[in-house]
């Protein structure tokens, strides 16, 4: 699965394309060698996942889906924005402008053999 993944990135908006299997997404830890934040694009999910490396070495995975009306979020320079009604979120997933009222959905992650496993359930 990882081998099938393709990495496309740039300094401002790294995106890692991958696939889902058994409601899990796997990404290599090495992606975070240069940056503490990575956008993951699982095939057929229709929403990106933002993964942030925390200071304690753990990883936080955010579903980039607006909590107001389920629209996809577009990455901005300092967070995420929903073009449908204008809600914005910071990189921690906290609402910075409504109408959304709830933070972005967080997924549980774990590290196994230098791979970050994101549990989508």
């Amino acid at each position: 699965m990882v081998a099938a993944s393709a990495l496309s990135s740039c300094a401002t908006l790294p995106v890692y394309k991958t696939t889902m299997a058994n409601n899990k997404v796997t990404v290599p830890v090495s992606l975070f060698a240069q940056s503490d934040f990575q956008v993951i694009q699982p095939k057929d999910l229709f929403y990106n996942i933002g993964v942030r490396k925390e200071k304690d070495g753990t990883y936080t995975a955010l579903l980039l889906r607006c909590t107001h009306a389920d629209n996809q979020l577009m990455a901005t320079g300092n967070g995420f924005k929903c073009n449908l009604h204008g809600s914005t979120f910071d990189k921690e997933g906290q609402v910075t402008q409504g109408p959304a009222e709830r933070s972005l959905k967080k997924y549980k992650t774990e590290i196994i053999s230098d791979q970050i496993i994101i549990h989508l359930s």
Partner: protein
């Protein structure tokens, strides 16, 4: 007694089962979060605003529930959704009386192509300017929408058509392109630019079309956008258009609009600058056909700075924004040879005030709009003084109101 109690419980159980079986599984936006990646869900939301306005020119005061809008959305599955907004303006629409409006502001299907791209089809708001796409009243300063994006860019500008929205993976750029029905030059009214030429989803002509496009660039706390519109304004058939001296066809007698804006926000400080220009190259032909004194060029620009006075207090959800905005617009910047210049359409406004948000979705606003316009053209005066009060180019509006969205 026990038997009666048991029978009652059975009946209540059956009744409640029937009752809940008939309920549509509507969820609030809050509940939709808990649906995780469920394939279908229904969300409801809305926005509205009401305000008091004191007009120094007319020496009158007015109170109005300007807008109350309900939006509903339904996700059929992860690929297809529908979104809609139903708007009531001025609280009441009554038969035989002028004023008020009930309108479908948006109603479109959304087809997700992937996580970065989607297509919309139906009645939607093209990405032109800032306000057209983001018009919730608790997200802008001042009780009234800015006039540049009301009269030059006629927000909220919705038309029927299809649009493609997306973002690039390798660059911080979002884009959109759209194909929608065009405007009607027959409906243009002197003093409101192209605003009255919109069909807004009602019996739009399909002979003339329009294309729109926008590019957004994000970097850190900075955002820039350019957007444009180009479309025909003659929906009548060729025979009738020829008799009126107008060019028919898809892009006949065109309107072209260009817009650019930049926004910056950091540490409680925010800046917004927007400029736009509209060109109606065949305005002389429109005037000859409909005698509407249509301008050849109109433009508008505004700059706004704001600072959240509560930013340093550490209040997470509360904001108290002190702002000032300078708006300049001219709805007859140039006129064709058969037009009559109207100085009152050359307008400048300075709007200053406070926006208090006790929570992000609720705003309490107070502002003053100081207005200055050019002088009235004597050739356009229908009722001279003392039949009518002389025109006052300088006046102000004091606005106090509330706004919300959910």
């Amino acid at each position: 007694m026990k038997r009666y109690t048991f029978t009652l419980l059975i009946l209540l159980s059956l009744f409640s089962t029937q009752l809940f079986a008939q309920q549509t599984p509507i969820t609030t936006s809050e509940d939709s979060l808990n649906n995780n990646l469920s394939k279908s869900s229904t969300t409801i939301g809305g926005y509205g605003n009401a305000f008091y306005q004191r007009n120094s020119r007319t020496q009158t005061s007015n109170l109005d529930l300007e807008r109350f809008v309900l939006f509903t959305g339904h996700k059929f599955n992860n690929k297809i959704s529908i979104f809609s907004e139903l708007e009531v303006e001025d609280a009441k629409v009554s038969g035989g009386e002028s004023g008020g409006e009930v309108a479908v502001e948006q109603a479109y299907l959304k087809f997700n192509l992937n996580a970065n791209q989607y297509i919309v089809a139906g009645l939607f708001l093209p990405r032109i300017g800032i306000l057209n796409e983001n018009h919730l009243p608790n997200t802008f300063n001042g009780n009234e929408r800015n006039y540049v994006e009301t009269f030059i860019i006629p927000s909220t500008w919705r038309e029927l058509g299809v649009g493609l929205y997306g973002s690039l993976n390798n660059l911080p750029i979002n884009y959109s392109v759209g194909l929608v029905n065009g405007l009607s030059s027959e409906m243009f009214e002197h003093g409101s630019g192209i605003r009255e030429g919109r069909f807004e989803g009602r019996n739009a002509s399909g002979n003339n079309l329009a294309v729109t496009a926008a590019l957004q660039f994000y970097e850190g706390d900075f955002k820039a956008q350019v957007s444009g519109y180009y479309g025909g304004t003659v929906g009548v058939n060729k025979r009738k258009a020829d008799s009126l001296g107008l060019q028919s066809g898809t892009f006949g007698t065109p309107v072209a609009l260009g817009e650019a804006d930049v926004q910056y926000a950091k540490n409680g400080f925010s800046v917004k600058v927007l400029g736009t220009i509209v060109s109606i190259a065949d305005a002389d032909k429109v005037n000859r056909a409909y005698a509407s004194n249509t301008p050849k060029t109109e433009y508008g620009a505004y700059a706004e700075v704001g600072y959240d006075l509560m930013h340093l207090s550490g209040a997470k959800d509360k904001q108290l924004i002190l702002f000032v905005r300078d708006e300049k617009l001219n709805m007859n910047a140039s006129i064709p040879s058969n037009g009559v210049i109207d100085g009152t359409l050359d307008q400048n406004y300075v709007v200053a005030g406070l926006t208090y948000l006790p929570i992000r979705n609720v705003a309490i606003k107070g502002d003053v709009r100081i207005a200055h316009t050019g002088n009235q053209n004597p050739d356009l005066i229908i009722n001279p003084n003392p039949v009518a009060q002389p025109y006052q180019p300088n006046y102000n509006l004091v606005n106090l109101g509330v706004a919300f969205s959910f």
